[in-house]
């Protein structure tokens, strides 16, 4: 090989670096301050082997499917099987939902996700709330018969079903009742209880059935125990960092709080006498993925390392499946704008790429009109096709962890890990996540971060195209997107429900609810046993929730500003 005598071509790292530093400083000027990412990490203009040299490859990265899992939790990752396309849908009546679901399945959606109406989320039946609100943000499901109609024509044994179903998990109880009626064995039911993380609801967004903390805590552990026994392919817990980040937590905070919650749930399961090798493989996670591209990728890579160590060292799990940090991601709605809404299609694509490079297992892409209303069918189709394009046109599945080894990303992954672990230590010092949530510590921190972000948007530091920069005149009425359930069909659904309630066996319902109340007051009994029995005895969602709220306490989040 030719040796260079010209100093400009010298392959000497230090000399090259000095020259670049001089030239950079000369062009940029001394006053430049490094930008700070959302998690508070200063970002340098250039990363080199001085930041990450690969010497610690085996310790910090390793190979996909092996500890420390930085590069992914499976040996094959997306090359073997692309992420699941799991679009969250829910609107109107069960028949409306079924039509939308079948349409999405025909377009390539590969897993079911069911979003119930906010009346369901509050633990009410449809005859207990303002009729105007019914079905406007999710499907109105109050009985197992309603869920049966939602899933008509869908093979329950052949698809993974995610239910947005907080404690006491009445939708799961309905699903099991439907399976029984269709003679599908419960062992064949696979899926996830997507909103089972009661701590996340208590500290942010509050989309829960309003069971007080102690009752929700018992209900979750009872359900984990029950599904382990009866529905072995069901993931009874999805630990949710998404709520916190949507509510304003930084990516590092949201990840730290989620991991601290997972630690809390694992401790609770162990206290109940369960074996970490049995319950940890069924823990899953759910996160927001914002448009802060590299920060999000680093967040997920760091989290895989942290969780594997906790599972192995703190909980002593020896089954490799217990070490794997499985997660679903949803593109961040908080990044979307009402102004020039078509720009949101681009934002969702970038967010999705961050999640994909972060190694997700399933993905929901937001529709571009979510800052305007519940998604229209057209917008929902574009959201699905965004995933199809990234997977099949852009070929993002071909190489595992394709950004691994990049000086910046590896340095950032290390720094994000440090941030996340520091926040987890604060939660630990407060007595763990349950205690920290009870005291309002987490809520306060999320509120402060939400305000800090808003200040950056308003006072400079964070451009939001169409909002604080590049504004355009838009025609009045241009934001036409508006999907509402048909009022006549919703009225029909409500009237049929009221008629059905009068026609069912009151004795059976009352017996089941009495038994539910008795079980609630006997801590030795598994409470989900009785929720499942009540659902099969034609008890409604509202009846089950109100019985348990009466016996176990009504949940009220802390009102802190």
């Amino acid at each position: 090989m030719k040796s260079y005598s010209d100093p400009d071509f010298s392959p000497d790292f230090d000399a090259q670096r000095r020259r670049w530093e001089e030239e950079y400083a000369g062009r940029i000027g001394a006053g430049e301050r490094d930008p700070i990412n959302r998690s508070g990490i200063a970002v340098k203009p250039l990363y080199t082997p001085a930041d990450w040299d690969g010497a610690a490859y085996a310790e910090r990265l390793g190979f996909p499917g092996q500890p420390p899992f930085a590069r992914g939790i499976y040996a094959t990752m997306h090359r073997g099987q692309a992420w699941a396309q799991r679009q969250l849908i829910g609107l109107g009546t069960p028949e409306d939902y079924n039509a939308r679901l079948r349409g999405l399945l025909a377009q390539g959606t590969s897993a079911i996700s069911l979003l119930p109406c906010n009346s369901v989320f509050r633990g009410y039946d449809m005859d207990q709330v303002h009729e105007e609100l019914l079905g406007t943000c999710g499907v109105v499901v109050n009985t197992w018969q309603h869920l049966d109609r939602c899933l008509e024509g869908v093979d329950l044994a052949g698809i993974s079903t995610a239910l947005n179903d907080p404690s006491p998990f009445t939708l799961l109880a309905f699903l099991l009742a439907v399976a029984k009626r269709r003679r599908v064995p419960w062992e064949a039911i696979a899926g996830t209880a997507n909103q089972s993380d009661y701590l996340s609801h208590f500290v942010a967004n509050h989309m829960f059935y309003r069971l007080a903390l102690p009752g929700a805590r018992r209900m979750l552990i009872d359900t984990i125990e029950y599904t382990q026994r009866q529905v072995p392919k069901w993931n009874p817990l999805s630990v949710v960092g998404q709520h916190m980040q949507q509510a304003g937590a930084t990516p590092a905070e949201a990840m730290a709080f989620a991991l601290a919650s997972a630690v809390q749930y694992a401790e609770d399961c162990i206290a109940r006498g369960m074996d970490p090798d049995a319950f940890l493989p069924r823990f899953t996670f759910f996160f927001d993925v914002s448009i802060s591209f590299f920060e999000e990728i680093a967040k997920f890579r760091a989290a895989r390392r942290i969780w594997a160590r906790i599972a192995r060292e703190r909980f002593g799990a020896t089954d490799p499946r217990a070490w794997r940090f499985k997660f679903h991601a949803q593109t961040s709605g908080a990044d979307l704008t009402r102004e020039q809404p078509l720009n949101n299609i681009v934002r969702v694509a970038v967010q999705s790429m961050a999640g994909i490079f972060g190694g997700l297992q399933s993905l929901h892409t937001d529709s571009y009109d979510e800052a305007l209303s519940c998604p229209t069918a057209e917008a929902a189709r574009i959201a699905v096709n965004t995933q199809n394009i990234l997977r099949e046109e852009a070929h993002l599945t071909e190489v595992i962890d394709p950004l691994g080894g990049a000086y910046y990303l590896e340095s950032l992954t290390d720094q994000m890990q440090g941030r996340i672990e520091a926040i987890m230590a604060e939660v630990e010092a407060a007595g763990g996540m349950y205690r920290a949530a009870e005291q309002g510590i987490v809520q306060k921190r999320i509120g402060l971060s939400a305000r800090a972000f808003q200040a950056r948007v308003e006072r400079g530091g964070q451009t939001v195209v169409g909002v604080n920069a590049y504004r355009a005149e838009e025609e009045a009425g241009a934001r036409r997107a508006l999907e509402r359930p048909d009022p006549a069909r919703m009225r029909g659904h409500l009237e049929a429900f009221c008629r059905w309630k009068r026609s069912r066996s009151r004795d059976a319902v009352e017996r089941a609810l009495d038994e539910l109340a008795r079980a609630a007051n006997d801590p030795k009994r598994n409470l989900f046993d009785q929720v499942a029995a009540a659902a099969q005895a034609d008890c409604t969602h509202g009846e089950i929730c109100s019985t348990l709220r009466r016996e176990l306490g009504f949940g009220e989040p802390l009102a802190e500003v």
Partner: protein, 140 residues
């Protein structure tokens, strides 16, 4: 300038629990010198009316992210029935164009959309509170 600062009730009615917007706005108005009454989400309309009267607020701010704005006209009716029709009401959150007109016709003073600056909200609330006060004085 009035002797005491504007008094504002920030709340959520209906079924949705997302409170990022209501918390950020409430904290900003408080820091801007206003007196803030703040509640958890899911308040009943009757509760909001009662609280507004008891606390003698000048302005009610309703945060709505997920279609709860659809029952704001019911709140406006309930306020009028309780003799509290002079209280200024603003709505902030996700409100489609078609619905905004209906809210304004029902008597809502203004709808703030995502992207509205906190400064613009504070300015409007201050002016609205001053108008409400002046009307109250005039009718006494």
């Amino acid at each position: 300038m009035s002797a005491h600062p504007p008094k504002v009730l920030i709340t959520k009615i209906g079924l949705d629990g997302h409170d990022r917007g209501s918390r950020v706005v409430a904290a900003h108005l408080r820091d801007a010198g206003m007196e803030i009454i703040y509640t958890p989400p899911w308040q009943e309309i009757a509760t909001v009316v009662k609280l507004a009267l008891e606390e003698d607020v000048d302005v009610i701010g309703i945060s709505s992210l997920a279609t709860d704005h659809l029952i704001v006209p019911k709140l406006m009716q309930a306020l009028r029935s309780a003799g509290a029709g002079d209280i200024g009401v603003i709505v902030g959150g996700i409100v489609p164009d078609g619905d905004e007109q209906a809210l304004l016709e029902a008597g809502v003073a203004r709808v703030f959309h995502p992207g509205a600056s906190l400064e613009s909200i504070a300015r409007f609330v201050r002016e609205l509170a001053a108008r409400v006060r002046a009307e109250k004085l005039g009718s006494e």
